[in-house]
């Protein structure tokens, strides 16, 4: 190969290199990878790590971010939010951080503007069940039932046996709940409760079957 041919080949290689280096288009995969990288940088920033070098490189490598055909509104917003988070963590007194803050502001001026999701929460409708109120009612009724005098001087195991019988015969589900509470309390205090648990389960299944038939 002659000297001229070598030079022409070098010329072509260098022109191709420069052409690709200033090519604004990135594939959507590259774009997503770029956004992931910025996400990582934002994460590092939140953990208080030094990210100036990483951010400088990212900004430089993504200078044609907005010119890409493969970028959509939600991705722009993502990037804007990451940059906004990173900016809030940069040290205003550090000259290099000041430069980066200016660059982030430039991106904002070009349309990379952070947006927050607005979440509206409705209060529960008045006609809906208020579980807390129902729970307070049942606990209150249980307390009145236990304090009615019927169980004075009885052992709690006997009280439980009596309540399980009521649970089996009566429709009021308060008895099932009360039995469950007493079983839990007894178990926590070292009593063997397996037979009572078995009885309670049988009663619950029977009640469920009855509900299905109705």
């Amino acid at each position: 190969m002659s000297r001229l041919q070598v030079l022409k080949k070098l010329e072509s290689t260098l022109e191709n290199f420069l052409g690709q280096a200033v090519e604004p288009k990135k594939t959507s995969i590259e774009m997503r990878n770029s956004i992931d990288t910025l996400d990582n940088i934002a994460g590092e920033s939140l953990r208080g790590r030094y990210i100036s070098n990483q951010l400088t490189n990212w900004l430089s490598q993504n200078r044609f971010f907005l010119e890409s055909d493969n970028i959509n509104e939600s991705e722009i917003t993502k990037v804007a939010n990451f940059l906004s988070n990173i900016k809030s963590g940069l040290d205003n007194s550090d000259p290099r951080s000041q430069e980066l803050i200016k660059e982030i502001d430039n991106w904002r001026d070009k349309g990379v503007i952070p947006k927050r999701k607005l979440i509206l929460k409705l209060k529960p409708k008045t006609g809906e069940k208020n579980l807390l109120k129902e729970f307070m009612d049942i606990v209150s009724r249980e307390s009145l039932y236990i304090n009615s005098g019927e169980f004075d001087n009885m052992h709690l195991l006997s009280v439980l046996d009596d309540i399980l019988k009521s649970a089996e015969l009566k429709e009021d589900r308060m008895f099932i709940h009360l039995a469950g509470s007493i079983i839990y309390y007894l178990k926590a205090n070292g009593y063997k409760v397996d037979p009572f648990v078995k009885r309670l389960k049988e009663i619950e299944q029977k009640k469920l079957r009855e509900t299905d038939v109705k």
Partner: protein, 82 residues
């Protein structure tokens, strides 16, 4: 990076996209200090300078290969042949 730096950088990139390498090179030279920490920018600057040097070298070689002959045909017509 200030908005001025950003503008200058955009101009240099635009010149490279338009294959105006001499223009880009001038911008790189005048803003060298502003982008001293920017590796990407420095690579573009060096590659552009190298490309211009290669182009100059090619020009020099091709210029020397270009021979102008004066040919007389039947002693009347004059034709320049490259």
């Amino acid at each position: 990076m200030s908005s001025d730096s950003s503008e200058i950088r955009d101009k240099a990139i635009k010149a490279l996209r338009n294959k105006e390498y001499a223009v880009a090179s001038e911008i790189f030279k005048t803003t060298e200090n502003q982008f001293a920490d920017n590796i990407d920018f420095r690579i573009l600057k060096e590659v552009t300078a190298l490309l211009l040097a290669v182009k100059n070298e090619i020009y020099e070689i091709e210029k020397n290969d270009f021979i102008v002959e004066e040919i007389h045909t039947h002693g009347q017509e004059t034709e320049l042949r490259g």
